[in-house]
């Protein structure tokens, strides 16, 4: 019996030791792989380019022998996932950083790219900078506005509030949804809420004022007008709350919706639906605005916490993507980006991207204010306030704007 007991304990220990040994063995193997600079990982926010990016990674591996692993993303919770990965040590070598607010919170992780040669090709004012250092390479420029069906809408009819409102009313009487929004936070309010901010003389200063309490949206003309637009949208169109992005674009492609508030990224989905009419993009006519909202949606950044060899390999990959013929082709043709690099030419753009590209080149644009919003303001605070506005007909446009003020205060407290 004593023998038995010892035997059993022995077995238990042996089992444990095997387990431990296996674990440590595994760890060593991975560290070696990462430290050797022969493998880089990419984690990025744009779901639309996931497949294309994996293909690009394979091409790169074929050309250079450096292994590139692309970690899948779900889009919406990218930032949370990134944070988890950075904390538990499985952070990627290349990540995307949406804007300067995010870069600020991740400042201990973003690698200074200022000295890299290809960085000088970034179009003026498009680089993501933090404390005068370039930390992000723009994916490309993007733009959003009123994407309309040319068979149904004449852009002359959406030039100001009165014409916009009467157009929506006309569509309502014809049983066509005049303007489609969708329930995802950025498509519900995030993008469309840009206009009153961007029409301020100095949007960033205005936002600082909001934070400090010196100004409120409720006292600002553009926001009150924006409230009226939202009232008109609520009164004349289908509630966006039960609508997903796919449905929103699908209904538009099927001709059930005359306009959607979307960006050039929707073209790939529209192409899938095989749209048989011409589409155009018009500016959102808040206070007679006639400029497209153009900006940078996301930037490539390199994780500075990695081993020097891996950082170098990551920078090499970005260099390849933005300077080699293969890489440039991938950006324009595969990713479908409108390049924000002066050394990349854009040909054969889809109509929406063409509209954005032209606006961007002519300089007839307004900035993307939401890049300067407090972190996560849109999903955390703006979206619930907007859901309330759409769910409850008793809330007036002015009250809605006051709720947005409260939402802003909640986000910065």
């Amino acid at each position: 019996m004593v023998f038995n007991k010892k035997f059993m304990t022995g077995v238990a220990f042996a089992a444990m030791m095997t387990g431990l040994a296996a674990c440590s063995g595994g760890e060593e193997a991975t560290t070696e792989g990462e430290g050797g600079g022969e493998k880089i990982t990419i984690f990025q926010t744009k779901v639309e380019i996931s497949d294309q990016l994996e293909a690009a990674a394979e091409t790169y591996t074929e050309e250079t022998g450096v292994e590139v692993e692309v970690i899948g993303t779900t889009g919406d919770d990218y930032l949370q996932q990134l944070q988890i990965r950075l904390n538990n040590g499985t952070g990627p070598s290349i990540m995307s950083v949406q804007n300067s607010t995010v870069a600020e919170s991740l400042k201990s992780y973003v690698y200074d790219l200022s000295d890299e040669e290809f960085v000088s090709n970034i179009a003026p004012n498009m680089a993501l900078e933090l404390d005068e250092k370039v930390v992000g390479i723009p994916y490309g420029v993007e733009g959003f506005g009123l994407v309309y069906n040319k068979d149904l809408v004449n852009p002359e009819d959406i030039k100001d509030y009165e014409s916009f409102n009467s157009t929506l009313e006309k569509f309502k009487s014809e049983d066509i949804n005049g303007l489609g929004l969708s329930s995802e936070a950025y498509f519900l309010i995030g993008h469309i809420s840009n206009y009153p901010f961007s029409l301020q003389e100095d949007p960033e200063a205005f936002m600082d004022g909001l934070t400090s309490g010196d100004v409120t949206m409720a006292e600002t003309e553009e926001f009150l007008k924006f409230g009226e637009f939202m009232e008109s949208i609520r009164a004349n169109t289908t509630s966006p709350l039960g609508v997903t992005y796919d449905q929103q674009v699908g209904d538009f492609a099927a001709g059930k919706t005359a306009m959607i508030h979307q960006g050039n990224w929707a073209s790939s989905l529209l192409a899938d639906f095989e749209v048989d009419f011409e589409i155009g993009m018009a500016p959102f006519p808040l206070e007679g605005n006639d400029k497209q909202a153009v900006g940078v949606g996301a930037n490539w950044a390199v994780n500075s916490e990695k081993e020097p060899e891996e950082i170098e390999a990551a920078v090499d990959f970005l260099d390849w993507l933005h300077t080699s013929e293969t890489g440039k082709k991938i950006i324009v043709e595969e990713f479908g980006f409108i390049p924000a690099m002066t050394n990349i030419e854009a040909n054969d753009l889809d109509p929406l991207s063409q509209a954005v590209f032209e606006a961007s080149n002519s300089g007839e644009t307004i900035a993307w204010s939401h890049n300067y919003f407090p972190a996560n303001l849109v999903p955390n605070d703006f979206a619930p306030a907007t859901e309330e506005f759409f769910a409850n007909e008793d809330i007036t446009g002015d009250e809605f704007i006051a709720n947005l003020d409260a939402a802003w205060q909640n986000a910065v407290k």
Binding site: M8, T9, Q80, Q83, E387, A391
Partner: protein, 291 residues
Amino acid sequence: MANKKNISWYLLFTLPLLIIFTIIVVIPFLIGIYYAFFEWDGIGANPKVFVGMDNFLALFTDERFMKSTWLTVLFTVLSVLTVNIVGLAFALLVTSKLKLANLARTMFFMPYLIGGLILGYIWQFVFLDVFTFIGEVTGLENIFFNWLVNENFALFALIFVFTWQMAGYVMIVYIAGIQGVPGELIEASKVDGASPWQRLTRITFPLLMPAFTISLFLTLSYGFKIYDVNLSLTGGGPANATELFAMNIYNEIFGYGNYGYGQAKAILFFVIISAVTLTQVYLTKKREVEM
């Protein structure tokens, strides 16, 4: 001696589990308590500032958290009731002399086998398309509309789906209990002239107390902790009208980046769940009868 041998066997089988449990539950739990005393945004390289009890004190003035607490309590109470009533009814039905009892048993249990996330998406579709369709056809648009976009109905939609998912599971527990009721007791009561209702309330229910204990415990703790169905069905919306405890904590930590404060919420959450479920187990245990 035989006893010692048994201990070795116990060790062999429990140690691996114990190690796993320690690594993925106990240690993170302790670290979580530690973080609750700091103000920190959850990004490893950024500073942690010790704030003592401030995070816990702030909880009591946090309106959104209070609202979420109330919603969670409401959700849990209502769904414990519906899940157990429906589950018990199912169990009584399939243990009766019904021809399709076995088929029904499988069908009732089926929803539990579908993951909560998928379930949420399925029901999102049901509420969006099927409900509005029924509303249009029958003209009962006041009852059949998309519940998920209405602040007052979204929580009930959540309870509905949770009941649909869990009722089959507690049914199994109740079936086991009902089958454990000795036939001779039922027979004796029949001889004594007890009506079916009396048999149910005076014989079956008291003997079912152990099943009640475990079913109530399971539904209470599942109800408090629900996250997956909440996430996929309503996502906390509209306008935070269905943001339950677990989601509120997740949003605090990952949405607003208040890691320490979120942890403080999580600790309080743990205390509340333990207090409620332990009280419930104590109360129902007292009512269990020994045969």
